[in-house]
């Protein structure tokens, strides 16, 4: 018979010390509290920016107040930003949609089948590191000047991040659920639609958010390097003319657009993953 468990020595009443608090992950602050925290963070950031920029005293670095003024100018006085945003957004939307259509199935397939995963994982690694920027001339020469090269570059920028996250998320889906579905005669398509995709939804959204970010970056970079229309043209002009305030104002407005899209996505995500 196995040895007995002797009582632990020295763990008498002394152990009941201070109370333990359970980690409460994912309990997001809501409403006014969240707003206060966010604004506080913004204020800290703005003050740091203001002082740092004043200390740097460079013609390329605007202060926070200069930037805010420039935002007001470009958005409401001259209105320069709007047509540029519009021009730049079209390839962004198409490119992002193409990325999603390619990467979500790909990521799921990688999570589902070991062979595909093994075959594609070096490709993913390649793509994660493939330096797109030096290849932009190649893409332009290959595909001409129209919408296509922009869309291609945006896809190149974003697909791999979506695929990686979808794969990671789908791998976390309980294996026994897939078995359960199969035992009920689910077809492969049904396994995907009913088990893998819902189970991977949180990670899919994380991937979509990151992918959207990369798509934005891709959009700006193509325009900066080769086809300066829209936002890229504005940025180049402001840079060339040392209009630092407007340069960062434009950047911030692009970020704001991206963040708004991300927040919309987050809202959708919240609705879809109540079960978490």
């Amino acid at each position: 018979m196995a040895g007995s468990i002797s009582p632990a020595v020295g763990t008498g009443p002394a152990v009941s010390g201070k109370p333990i608090h359970i980690l409460n992950l994912r309990k997001d602050l809501t409403g006014p509290q969240a707003l206060v925290v966010r604004i506080l963070a913004l204020v800290v950031f703005a003050v740091l920016w203001q002082f740092a920029a004043e200390a740097a005293d460079s013609i390329l670095i605007p202060t926070f107040t200069e930037t805010m003024e420039a935002i007001y100018q470009t958005a409401f006085v001259t209105g320069e930003i709007w047509p540029a945003l519009w021009v730049s957004n079209l390839p962004l939307i198409i490119g992002f949609a193409v990325s999603v259509l390619i990467s979500v199935p790909l990521g799921l397939a990688m999570a589902r089948w070991k062979a595909i995963d093994a075959a594609l994982s070096p490709v993913i690694a390649l793509a994660l590191a493939l330096p797109i920027a030096p290849l932009i001339p190649v893409v332009l020469v290959a595909l001409g000047m129209g919408m296509t090269p922009k869309v291609v570059i945006i896809v190149l920028f974003s697909w791999v991040f979506i695929a990686t996250n979808v794969r990671a998320g789908a791998r976390r889906v309980d294996k026994s659920l897939v078995e359960m579905a199969q035992s009920y005669g689910a077809t492969e398509g049904q396994v995907w639609w009913r088990i893998l995709i819902p189970g991977a939804i949180p990670a899919v959204f994380a991937g979509l958010r990151i992918g959207l970010g990369r798509a934005f970056a891709g959009m700006v970079i193509v325009e900066l390097i080769m086809l300066p229309i829209g936002i890229g043209a504005l940025l180049l002009d402001y840079r060339g003319d040392f209009k630092a305030g407007l340069l960062y104002a434009t950047t911030i407005l692009v970020m704001v657009e991206a963040v708004i899209l991300a927040l919309l996505m987050q809202a959708l995500e919240r609705r879809l993953i109540q079960w978490k």
Binding site: S58, I59, L60, L140, M145, M226, G240, K243, A244
Partner: protein, 296 residues
Amino acid sequence: QDAGNLTLGFPGGVGPTDIPAILALQELEAQGWTTNYIEFDSPDIQTQALLNGDIQVASMGPATVFAANIAGADLRIVSNNNSIDFIVLAKTGIEECADLDGEIVAYHSTGSTTTAHLYRYIADNCPEITPNYMVLSGSANRAAALLNGQIAGTIVRMEDWIAATGGEDERAKILALLAETQSTLLTQTIVVSAKNVEAERGEVEAFVDALHAQFAKVYEDPAAYAELAAPYLDGASVETVAAVYGALVESELFPKEKALSPDQIADTIAFYEEAGRAEPGALTPENVADFTLADR
């Protein structure tokens, strides 16, 4: 002579027009100096490097100098590097400026120097046309796009055209050499920061002297110079480089005088004012150039 210390900045991608400056550095190095050169991708970063004292002299376009000074920087042109070397190109079949009406014409970006020159060319020669403008950055990219038939006309630097075609190609041809009509304008200058200039006066003077010695060498024998220059131009053959120098010398694009001409500066300022890139009166030759360094 005391050994000096000098770092020079270039816009990215060394071309034949940049070689004299590099060889001037070599010359100084041979005299015991410590020299260095750095290629910058964008003029604004180069400007900042100059203002910070990371580099002592820079090769940059007057447009950048003007824009930076309007934005509050204190840059000074101390020497010319080369005059306008832009050419207007068009695909075969387009014979004159007016034929560009309705065709796709590419330029760098709305506010760039080359664009201003292109507008000026059209205003001078065929003001009534409305080309279908599109944006395509990089002079070499535009040359390639033209050769690939993706655009009908554009403006590029002569050295890029010659590098891409060796001087001739049946797919496109030179519509105008702007050097002929706009020769009083500067395109590439040697620039210092006014704040640092007193401390580095000796170095800058020595560099300007060495640079002009190089220009003299080019004019002496362009073909021989090409052989010196080719190793600095990755992958370019000596013949191509020789063709470029031949063309540049023929058009007298390198300055023959060391002294900086106030008229040239004034013309260049006027040109940018006209192009709407500078407020009239905001710039004077004195606050963008330092004549004391070269006019000795």
